[in-house]
Symmetry: C2
Subunit: 205 residues, 2 copies
């Protein structure tokens, strides 16, 4: 789905959505122009219009876009209405923090559970979400048709986990481990290497 949007445009859509949602419900905010969005997010205004053109929302000359329509169109494009489930592998500090993070619901995503190999964690709950042993992975993913996963395990374990996830039917992985995962090319992977990003920042000083 959403095949014909450039990846850079796609990545900005949640940013627009987020921004539009923060605008207070006031008289003056009924319409919003691409220029106003561009200024707030420090982007070019033509770029904003081009990005928004991928959604079903069309703006009106002179006034801009109807804010609520634009929000709805972005939500539709990002499939936020079909609620999706995701799981987390790794219930260390990061995994537990993500279990407790409420921000995923803004995009229609719910974290169902976490998985860990530590016997002391298995069977416990964080933010009312269960932590299962790795042996439950297949069962949980298949029963709930989960296709989204977050990897929050040490680098050394990540590749093995990725393979288990794929075997369990996962189609997209958000990977926090600092390794390049080798998986079938049909599986979508986004890497988030926190330390590497901090290192890049530090080297720019």
């Amino acid at each position: 789905m959403n095949k014909d949007i450039p990846i850079f445009s796609l990545q900005r859509l949640p940013v627009y959505l987020n921004y539009l949602r923060t605008l207070p419900e006031e008289e003056g905010n009924y319409y919003i122009s691409s220029g106003a969005i561009a200024q707030a997010l420090r982007l070019g205004e033509v770029l904003v219009r081009k990005d928004l053109a991928y959604t079903s929302c069309t703006g009106r000359p002179k006034v801009g876009y109807v804010r609520k329509e634009l929000i709805a169109a972005l939500e539709e494009f990002l499939c936020i209405n079909n609620k999706k489930s995701a799981i987390i592998v790794g219930a260390g500090g990061l995994g537990r923090a993500l279990l407790g993070y409420g921000g995923f619901t803004h995009y229609g995503i719910e974290i169902d559970a976490a998985f860990d190999s530590d016997q002391n964690k298995i069977g416990t709950y964080v933010a009312d979400k269960p932590i299962y042993g790795m042996d439950k992975l297949n069962e949980v993913c298949k029963e709930a048709s989960v296709t989204l996963a977050i990897i929050a395990v040490p680098a050394s374990a990540a590749q093995g986990i990725a393979e288990k996830l794929v075997a369990a039917g996962i189609k997209a992985i958000l990977n926090f481990a600092p390794v390049q995962l080798t998986v079938d090319e049909k599986i979508k992977v986004i890497n988030m290497d926190v330390a590497a990003n901090l290192a890049v920042l530090a080297s720019m000083l």
Copy 2:
């Protein structure tokens, strides 16, 4: 510093470093070719050579790069030898997870402390790192000449925190809050919006 490297190349350098460090110290690993790196990281081999050309390490036709030299050159380019301190603002789940995360040291970065406004957290420690009240921000940053910070607070608080950080002398910010920070353009900012990235993945399914 490092002004004349394209941002995309710069962002790949820690990835190369990371990969090279994982290679075992074996006879056959004395040299490494751009082709081998490219294959492991799923990049083009010319791209790898171009990226590596920004460092001081030069490869040898027929054999490739001396692995240890390349690691040293990457470390030098990324200024990993001058140890740097960073602070975290926000000692919620994410902030605490990052306080306990050891991966920053691989890039010569140490997290000195976290800051929070919650009285129950102030004065406590996570992974032997202190959590201070916000009133200590200036003092700590200036005494230890800290110029790197991570924002791990809710979106609503992030802009205010960013301004305090800049006032305290911070020059680069890794921002986990899902808002566009408005700060002086000389301040470097990298945004890491976990939920937005998961949403992008989900919409690609």
